[in-house]
Symmetry: D2
Subunit: 274 residues, 4 copies
């Protein structure tokens, strides 16, 4: 199975780039399943229902999020209306929306996708991400309820990300980190067969600070005082993601490689799909 994951779309430039390129990628690369992180799609802060729908329309099967999920107030309402929209699973019971779901890929495979948030340097108030993963895996073990299992682990610390990868190794098809907005080059298949990448990076303007116009962030690092608001950068976006080839037989990973398209970073397509 051919699965593509695209990192956090940031602002108009990021989401537009995804909307423009994704349909072609789906057909050219014959993708079976596409996941896109959308937590920064609305000006850098959250996502609207309209943006969500447009992203699904462009070919995404699931839109994941992260710490910015509630930045647009309407998310609290529309998150409950769409099965393909995920907020982090380790919010407490009773939180609107869902943190994981079972979806059908174009090849008929059942794909379990879960969005989980890390806590180190981030959100101590969330539930244990390791326990959340455990519960999800127990409810739908690989090759029983699901033909593929993917975690979008939205976290800051590389230690927490790597340990999370080892924790589900052999029980999930793929763990991809998000949140730092910087793509990492440590893609590998762990000992148990789970594909792993610490961070997918973002889909946005890489002449920026994390996709935001660099002037105000830089001003704050220098003057230590706010001067204006944070606004999404508007230069041309580079799409960052990662492709994984998942075995139909075992549900584990056969290959993993980055996908990068755009003007600022080195472009690449998973060689096993070229």
């Amino acid at each position: 199975m051919r699965l593509l994951f695209l990192g956090d779309m940031v602002g108009k430039t990021g989401r537009t780039a995804v909307w423009e390129r994704l349909p072609g990628l789906v057909s050219d690369l014959r993708l079976d399943f596409v996941i896109v992180n959308g937590e920064n799609a609305a000006g850098g802060f959250g996502i609207t229902e309209e943006i969500f729908l447009e992203t699904i329309n462009a070919g995404a099967d699931v839109v994941t999020t992260g710490n910015h999920v509630w930045d647009q107030k309407e998310a609290v309402v529309f998150c409950g209306r769409h099965e393909q929209f995920l907020r982090p699973a380790n919010y407490p019971a009773g939180t609107p929306g869902r943190g994981s779901g079972l979806y059908f890929a174009r090849n008929g495979a059942r794909v379990l996708v879960a969005n989980i948030m890390g806590r180190v340097f981030m959100h101590p108030e969330l539930d244990d991400p390791f326990k959340a993963a455990e519960a999800i895996l127990e409810a739908a073990p690989l090759k029983e309820q699901a033909d593929a299992i993917v975690f979008d682990f939205h976290a800051e610390a590389t230690s927490e990300k790597q340990c999370f990868g080892h924790f589900v190794d052999g029980r999930a098809s793929f763990v991809v980190g998000t949140h730092t907005h910087v793509p990492t080059a440590d893609h590998q298949i762990l000992n148990g067969g789970t594909a792993y990448l610490s961070d997918a990076g973002m889909c946005g303007d890489y002449d920026s600070s994390l996709g935001m116009d660099k002037e105000e962030p830089l001003n704050r690092f220098i003057s230590k005082m706010p001067k204006g608001r944070f606004e999404a950068a508007s230069g041309p976006a580079t799409i960052c993601g990662v492709g994984v080839e998942i075995s139909d037989r075992t549900g584990l990973a056969e290959a993993i490689a980055p996908l990068r398209l755009g003007p600022r970073l080195s472009e690449t397509i998973p060689p096993f799909w070229a």
Copy 2:
């Protein structure tokens, strides 16, 4: 000028790999200058004088460090004995050792190397890294006192790293992040001509948690209690670094690309050196 930077050597496996491979790289790639981060070379915690000397012996021109610099007590003493050893420059005045130095490359160029530590999620008690860089750049501007200027910016947060890059853009040859132990794939030449990479990754065992045996870190994420000590992982190391081609004329970057050698990550050599 051909400059190679290697990320944090972690433990025996990491430093041994560097010692074994570096001499060949220096001659095969005709490297003019080599910088290696050594903050985790001694079992993951700090560096000894013996390890430092062996690394210089293997071909490093400068050894940089970071938050683990003082983990081995002897560092407080030997840091003052060796010009080629750098601790973060933004320790207060009076701190033993030095945070930057001017060195001669094999091609005769004068290379200014500075080691600076970020503060976000890290060490609020250090001096302002941006001011520290400013002072260094004012004392030895590019193409006046130095033919090339390189910053090892040891930091956690990608926002601080990117803003630091923009801050010195056009005034330094190269900014490379370290500390997360995960190589990033966002190498680019910024608008002003400075080569930039958010993190060089580590030279160590990538079947691990940041180069440390994964058992105890994973135990702590699950049980929230210490069971044993953190120990360096001992599997075969992957060397992670980055090569930069620096213009003799402008001191700015002409090309940047990662270098990765070893069993776990995708191997690559800067194409402009191949």
Copy 3:
């Protein structure tokens, strides 16, 4: 019912002061129940079984702890042997020891004591302290299973402490914060009848940094480098605690006032016991 809570005993001077004064306080003030926080009793770091037993021997009915609970390795073992020893309740299921217990006071009342740890600025990896409290209160509601309910809420942030107080207001007899080692003067009875104090302070040498010899902590704030180890201060200790009068009828608080005995802080005894 007369309940006395004493803050974190720090080092030899702190625990010795408690051992010497507590028997007299129990008889002079005709105390029905005594809780002492012992997380720093062993040189500032954790507590040994011997120290625990001596503290029980001096008149404590329960010894609570906090983030330092496992500093002495033997705690992992002996915590399971003593009902009167509590570690924070919001460690995950399967953690040795217990986080709450039901005890008999000298007047025959059943006293539920729970030790819970905050997460803000502290330990994001622990379970939700609010949920932990909810579970405890549901299992043994006030005036059903318990005649009095006391929470030692070990936390840093005053916002988390105050919100915790409001959360259990009317359902617990008393919430006392610990961990900052500084006694606060905000004792009050909340609207629902729960006595509240943000921090009990410590039993230790107040000519110090949190009960530790001030030289090394001060050195680190100034030089940003370790010079030696942290050691408990050894000057005469001031005992800091708080007395609460709990209604036999409602289980809620009738009065709360601090108790301080020693050379550095203003001495005081709850006026309703004088």
Copy 4:
């Protein structure tokens, strides 16, 4: 010299209480100098020029601030117009306003007041608070340029506060912490003669979360999701502060005791002024 310090005024209820009570306190207690922290006076977030002027009008000689200083945008402008307005001194050179000033007390004494912000758990991007204090003390040593020296040390961590106290002990008249909004009871005169209190508490509604209406903060601790905005609580305020008797001869402290007036906390007036 009789010096009164009042903690952070929070919202309308806090500032109104101060404005109503302060004139009477100045005359009844024959105060020579009054400092009030105003960082939360405007609805909990910052301070306006009008509120500042009204506070001066009520009898304050200096208004200090903290991390909320820039919350009201106009502060960036008016901070430069008023010598009696202080923002934290450890902002970088070039920041609008001033961090310390020399003032005349009603008894003719020259009083140096400095506002400094801590960094632990707070603002790593600010300059070293210890160095900032050192520079201030060197520029105007006690009994040379100043007859009294007072630091409002706005910080979270008790360790940083206590170490700051020891750092200036014997060189300042008084160190008072602010920011936690909870009054501490650890007032003492340090070995060198400096009066010290870890936190003055706030002037605000103590049936709240730090002076803010408790509903939304509590909601966030429970649901982990924002539901509304933070708003200042509106119940009757308790005034919290501390009185210090400073020697005209030495500039050091002769006595220190809390002042608390209002409905929720135990009321007290410095006994040496009663």
